[in-house]
């Protein structure tokens, strides 16, 4: 159900700026649309995204209904040491998704 895709280099030189692209499969229902019977479709979105590098938060974002479905977030970080990057998405109706990726810094 919770499908996410994260793209980042597996290896990097120390001090290199690496680009990370993330995509979460989510409809991002805005809460402004109506059904054919005129009832409002309740809001159901991802509200927060965070990225931790070896346990230290390096990037976070607050998402709003004005973000497209399947939110793509692309950002960068400095490759400081080998280790794990943890990505976490949380949202309405208890939505939660995590992904971990490892990076080797030479």
């Amino acid at each position: 159900m919770t499908r996410v895709v994260v793209n980042l280099p597996q290896r990097a030189r120390r001090g290199e700026i690496i680009e990370i692209r993330t995509l979460a499969g989510h409809a991002m229902e805005t809460g402004f649309r109506r059904t054919q019977l005129g009832e409002l479709v309740p809001r159901d979105i991802i509200t927060r995204f965070t990225c931790s590098y070896n346990g230290v938060e390096v990037f976070s974002a607050e998402l709003h209904p004005a973000l497209a479905a399947n939110p793509l977030i692309s950002f960068s970080t400095v490759a400081t040491e080998s280790g794990k990057l943890e990505f976490r998405w949380t949202g309405d109706n208890g939505y939660s998704a995590t992904h971990t990726a490892s990076i080797t810094v030479v």
Partner: protein, 156 residues
């Protein structure tokens, strides 16, 4: 002389027009402007926002407002003493002005964030960068939207 056909067409269009307008407050434009100003004030706390240092990249002509690539780049050395703390993106014509707030720090290396947004109508897109020294910088782009997001019937 008005024929029966002409009368029906005329009556139908007037009724449909008033019904559509009745669903919206008359001063919707002013309300949206005020909402944007309020959202910006919430972020800046009333501090002055200067133009420059921020480069907002949005296509000027948007075919489909449901997925609009938006990318923001800020000129900053991104060191511990001088870096970008947050990048805020707003739109003028959406039901809510907020699009995204990205929080970064010196470990980002480069102040560049990109995403995909929904944009409801032709209007302004605004990006504000919050620096570590407390200053705010901004850039705005006027975009033309042909297919609106959010509201299929185009009542915005």
């Amino acid at each position: 002389m008005t024929t029966r056909r002409q009368f029906l067409v005329l009556a139908g269009s007037t009724l449909a027009g008033t019904a559509a307008q009745a669903q919206l407050p008359a001063n919707i434009e002013a309300l949206r402007k005020a909402a944007l100003a309020e959202a910006v004030r919430k972020v800046t706390g009333g501090a002055q926002v200067r133009a420059g240092r921020v480069k907002l990249d949005v296509p000027p002509l948007i075919d489909n407002g449901n997925t609009v690539p938006v990318s923001v780049e800020v000129e900053s050395p991104m060191t511990a003493i001088d870096h970008v703390k947050a990048i805020h993106v707003f739109t003028e014509k959406n039901p809510q002005p907020y699009v995204m707030t990205a929080r970064l720090g010196p470990r980002a290396g480069r102040a560049r964030v990109s995403t995909r947004a929904r944009i409801a109508d032709t209007g302004k897109v605004l990006a504000i960068a919050q620096m570590s020294d407390g200053s705010f910088w901004s850039d705005s782009v006027n975009v033309v939207v042909t297919l609106s997001a959010c509201l299929e019937d185009g009542l915005i």
